[in-house]
């Protein structure tokens, strides 16, 4: 990257009371919405977003424009937009910043998206723990309604859109798109079989678009400055910037908005200040707990979807967890298996029983009662989950477990022997 990274999403985060609509508008907010609704057609927006190569920022990295394109045009059913603000992936906290600092940016993105796809009702599914932020969002919705940016006949263009804030209640699985739909419909958060896909049959059996908070927050910027500009901020097939979150044993944990493709090493050492207390690096989780772990010799890697996939890991939510040499790897493994066994919805056999079984073995090893063959068994069980479950949570558990057992085998074996 030989260009000075431009802050896009976090540009005005240091402005006081940016969450108030008057401040947001003073900083140029809602001007793009005005332009889009009055001068552009929905298809123009779709073309631009497709050309921007905006990949989903929630974890799956699916191109947003392509997803919107799957929604059937002429259907006699209302269409819905669900904003995925569940942010449950351990290590991830970026959406919290967006929603508390600049909720109107998100709203502006929602409204433009609604206009593009023909959606008149949007739900922001926000995790239950973010109650204070949900209240801030509700206030922002109210302010936007008062100014005519939401509700009926927005900016007198005839376009209607209502936004409702809907709080979850503590279930990581509800971040999975079809489980989110089930939860929104008032049921247990059990993921659905796909096909059919939500774009065709989603919320209340109607076509539905589900996008992450950060993904939608990019929309006003893409429509303001154009797809070409957006692509130039990142990589040709993976445009824009990303808000990386760095946590763990670094000097400066926090959010860092940087171009897609920034090196992980640079992120940790240049931006996040490097290791805390001068300790040595042991391992890095690059994209939230579901992404397989990287060893110190693997962190010279660009943070983009393709590069991490090639390294048998995942960009995921861009949440970097830094682990130093003093953390026993069995602790890391135990926290991972604890999380997935607790969060499994319980619907399908491999995830429900596999996660719990692996956690029982890991716990036993942690308590000093590990046996020969335990590690092989963990690998077998995790492989019996991989690709066999109803939803991606099975893979999200199996891959990091397999990664740790493979890359830290020696340390785990010594845990069992000694």
């Amino acid at each position: 990257m030989n260009k000075v990274p431009e802050k896009v999403l976090t540009k005005n985060f240091d402005v006081d009371h940016l969450f108030k609509i008057d401040v947001y508008m003073k900083k140029g907010g809602y001007k793009t919405l005005n332009k889009v609704l009055k001068k552009l057609k929905p298809d123009d927006v779709l073309k631009e977003v497709k050309a921007a190569h905006l990949r989903g920022r929630g974890g799956a990295g699916f191109p947003a424009g392509v997803k919107w394109g799957f929604v059937p045009k002429d259907v006699d059913k209302p269409k819905y937009l669900c904003v995925n603000a569940d942010e449950g992936e351990p290590g991830t906290f970026k959406d919290r910043y967006i929603m508390s600092h600049n909720p109107h940016m998100l709203l502006e993105g929602i409204i433009i998206t609604g206009y593009c796809v023909g959606i008149h009702t949007a739900f922001i599914y926000i995790r239950g723990e973010y109650e204070n932020i949900a209240q801030r969002l509700e206030k922002a919705v109210s302010e936007a309604e008062d100014k005519g940016f939401l509700g009926k006949n927005i900016l007198k263009t005839g376009f209607d859109l209502n936004v409702f804030v809907h709080r979850g209640a503590g279930a990581y699985i509800c971040g999975e798109e079809t489980a989110l739909l089930e939860s929104l419909e008032g049921k247990r958060g059990n993921p659905r079989l796909k096909p059919p896909f939500p774009a065709a049959i989603g919320l209340f059996q109607s076509p539905t678009v589900i996008n992450n908070v950060e993904t939608l927050s990019n929309i006003p910027h893409i429509m303001e400055k154009g797809a070409d500009w957006f692509v130039k901020q990142g990589l040709p097939e993976d445009g824009g910037t990303r808000i990386f979150g760095v946590s763990g044993q670094v000097k400066k944990p926090g959010i860092y908005e940087l171009p897609v493709g920034t090196s992980l090493k640079e992120l940790i050492y240049t931006h996040a200040g490097g290791m805390e207390s001068g300790k040595k690096l042991k391992a890095v989780i690059p994209g939230g707990m579901s992404s397989p772990i990287l060893k110190p010799d693997e962190i010279d890697i660009p943070m983009d979807c393709e590069s991490l996939m090639k390294a048998d890991s995942m960009l995921g939510s861009g949440a970097v967890i830094v682990i130093d040499e003093d953390v026993p790897i069995i602790d890391v493994l135990r926290k991972i298996t604890q999380f997935y066994s607790h969060e499994s919805c319980g619907q399908c056999t491999p995830c429900r029983i596999g996660n719990s079984w692996i956690h029982k073995i890991v716990n036993r090893i942690y308590k000093g009662k590990g046996k020969k063959g335990d590690l092989d068994n963990i690998e077998k069980l995790a492989n019996n989950m991989l690709g066999r479950t109803l939803c991606p949570l099975g893979d999200a558990a199996a891959m990091p477990i397999l990664g740790i057992v493979k890359k830290f085998r020696k340390e785990l074996e010594s845990e069992i022997k000694g």
Partner: protein
């Protein structure tokens, strides 16, 4: 209908239900409202919610028992939820959980006899840059250490 649910709460509930094309979709907002007022969801509330949404009580219980934030048992005035996930653990959460346990005289999952504090461990709260974290009701406290915890508990007492 439970006499403990006030008229104004009922009005709010009806307003929440009106936001959704199907009544059942309002179940989480309605339960959140009731739990915020009553502190937990008892049989009475389950039946009330069922009646308001036109579903059987068994469907309400399915939801109440699925989500970690919903409780069928009374919670203390201050529900202290300490994150025990990866980053917070690396940053020392386990020791803080033990410390709180000792200080309050209860184990995780229990409530103090005077009904003021419930202590639970939870998964990632989404504030890892401030690890270790805890949530008291829905207020976040980060960068915790023993001193900070003492201070927070003292402030709650006032």
């Amino acid at each position: 209908m439970s006499p403990e649910v006030t008229k104004s709460t009922l009005k709010r509930i009806k307003e929440l239900i009106s936001r959704y094309p199907k009544k059942q979709a309002a179940i989480l907002p309605v339960i959140h409202l009731i739990q915020s007022e009553k502190g937990f969801i008892s049989d009475e509330e389950e039946k009330l919610v069922a009646e308001l949404l036109g579903i059987r009580p068994v469907k309400v219980r399915e939801v109440v028992t699925f989500y970690s934030m919903l409780s069928q048992k009374p919670l203390g005035k201050y529900h202290i939820q300490v994150c025990s996930n990866l980053t917070c653990s690396i940053m020392g959460a386990e020791k803080l959980i033990d410390y709180l346990s000792e200080k309050l005289g209860i184990k995780p999952g229990e409530t103090t006899d005077d009904g003021r504090f419930t202590l639970t461990t939870v998964e990632c709260l989404g504030a890892c840059e401030q690890a270790p974290n805890m949530m008291v009701n829905t207020d976040y406290y980060g960068h915790l250490d023993k001193e900070k915890i003492d201070k927070i508990l003292k402030e709650l007492d006032e």
